[in-house]
Amino acid sequence: MMTANTFDLHTYWTRHLRPRLKPLPYLLLLPTVYFVYLFTIMPTFKVLRDSQTYYHPNRPAREIMSDLSLPGIEEAKRSIRGPHDVGFAYFRAMFDPDTVEGERFFRAMRNTIIYVVTTVPISMLLAFTFAVLVNRRLRWIGSARIAFFYPTMLPMVSAATIWLFFFTPEYGLWNAALRWFGYHGAENWVINPDLALVGLIIVAIWKNAGYFMIFYLAGLQNLPEDVYEAAALDGASWWVQMFRITLPLLRRTTLFVSVVAIISAFQTIDHALVMTYELVTGEADLLLYEIYNQRFILQNYGFANALTVVMIAILLGLTIINFLISERENE
């Protein structure tokens, strides 16, 4: 028999390790692990390598709409056969505003940051407002709930197509409404380089507010009622209850919704494909749109991979920040 302070490898193997190494769980897990490996883990490492490689474009050179002229790339480009290892040339170009690539990267990053810091807070504020308005026992309140939530069920393409009309100059409803409020500025929200990004932001807010609303609604419905009864007895007004009780109690919901909102803001560009694709000068390009554009339209393969690396770094960074915040909340 084994005594408490001797470590017997054989006993450890038969009693602890071998029963936990039976093949069945691994076999059942194989499909999921395989597909996650093939489409998430492996590509993540693949872009790291491909972002340092120059591939020749697939089309004849004269058809390529824009081409690279970067210090580290010239030589590889003149060669006949690829691919070529170009080191960090793409990343150097990306952070150098004097190159075309650097300029485009800076613009895409600026647009993405503007997009995220406007859509996320505004749609969350609206979501909370909707949730408070809808969380009452009235006969027709269900239809208000439907009105706020239905944009979630629409494909982003359809939503953007409908809004394309709203943004039409002269008779578009958005412009008509603005004129009613006394706005007389530029009207074509899709082609105008200064307004296109605002157009994307408006559509995203309209589409997402109802989705975020349901999380606040669930949060509101789970609040303890006795707290409100006590507050009402103390004579606390509606505003005091809202800011001193409801919002603090919903802090976790807010954190959670903001994470969902930020991550989905980075990966939704369907409306850009409908609304701003004509804007070839790219004033409203978001980061993911720039990736798509560089890879599939301009055929700058390596640069598209380098942009993907940046995107992954941002998303992982956000995940880590979220993890740290929620750890602190739990303490």
């Binding site: 769980p25 999921t32 590509p43 309140i141 208000a144 939530f149 393409v157 669930a218 993907t308």
Partner: protein
């Protein structure tokens, strides 16, 4: 907020709140109401200032013309649109959405079961490995994933090249669109949570009776977990039905789904500003999900609440 308020006479302040609610709800609903109304105008009806809502006639002509211009429906429905014979946007969307759903239900149930039931070496590592999919969404990896699909072969499936090698052409098939979604971290997580809430006594009784793992899964774990599986299915179908970017990358003609069909339709130059035609096409695409949502409102909203896990 509390039940004592229910159906009581409203105070002026409450009337104000109700008024704001109605106003906002109407504002939010204007786009879909407008789209429905305009889709029933004739296709060549031009909109103009003060003429953006009802036309003179209510007609299905726009729907008819839209289905003639683009292959939204299969041939046997009666539309004779140009396109690839035997392929229609509806059939394509249904095909890949159902393919993804069927495979996902299987992989997700098995993986959730493994993480909830078994104890094995590397469990925690494999769990975080799968959860990586939530942190790096597939949409972001479209560049390398496109290469994976284009260069798919028996070697990708793990068969050594010296035994057998054959390239599998997946580009422009439903498999190409569905495959990245075959493994789902969100579904795995959801099903694991559901299985973990099954009482341990029930499982132990099953083990005592000599149940094999598939008996346990089918008769003990799954029955109380069906609501979670249905929720996952609803979210999966609605997300995939609306997917655009990934299909755009891996399909060209034959497997083109509805969303991509609408995108191409709006970009046809000769359709331009024929809004009633474009809106008819839009309604053709959104109608199934929207109607399903109106009928099963509660189920959809509850399912989407789960979707926040991702």
């Amino acid at each position: 907020m509390n039940e004592t308020q229910s159906f009581k006479r409203q105070t002026p302040a409450e009337w104000l709140v109700t008024g704001i609610t109605v106003l906002l709800a109407v504002l939010w609903a204007v786009p879909i109401i407008w789209a429905v109304i305009v889709s029933f105008r004739p296709p060549d009806d031009d909109l103009g200032v003060d003429d953006v809502w009802f036309g003179n006639t209510v007609t299905l002509a726009s729907y008819q013309k839209a289905t003639d211009l683009a292959p939204f429906f299969p041939d046997w429905v009666g539309a004779d649109a140009e396109g690839f014979p035997g392929h229609s946007y509806y059939a394509n969307t249904l095909e890949w959405v159902l393919l993804a759903l069927v495979v996902q239900v299987i992989t997700v149930t098995l993986a959730g079961f493994v993480f909830a039931h078994f104890d094995f070496v590397g469990k925690r590592f494999l769990f975080y490995f799968v959860l990586m999919q939530m942190m790096i969404p597939t949409a972001v990896l479209l560049v390398p994933n496109f290469i994976t699909i284009r260069e798919f072969s028996t070697a990708t499936l793990g068969i050594p090249k010296f035994i057998y090698y054959k390239e599998v052409s997946l580009y422009d098939t439903p498999w190409a669109i569905a495959m990245p979604y075959f493994g789902s971290a969100f579904g795995t997580f959801l099903m694991r949570q559901a299985f973990l809430s099954v009482p341990k006594d029930l499982v132990e009784a099953g083990v005592m009776d000599g149940c094999r793992w598939y008996h346990l899964l089918l008769n003990v774990y799954l029955p109380p977990s069906y609501p979670s599986l249905v929720a996952f299915g609803l979210v999966s179908v609605s997300f995939h039905w609306n997917e655009l970017l990934w299909p755009l990358v891996v399909t060209s003609d034959k497997a083109r789904p509805l969303t991509m069909g609408l995108l191409r339709f709006t970009q046809l130059t000769d359709i331009g500003a024929q809004w009633s035609l474009v809106m008819a096409a839009t309604m053709i695409i959104v109608a199934p999900l929207l109607l399903a949502f109106l009928f099963f409102q509660r189920q959809f909203i509850n399912s989407f609440l789960y979707s926040g896990v991702k």
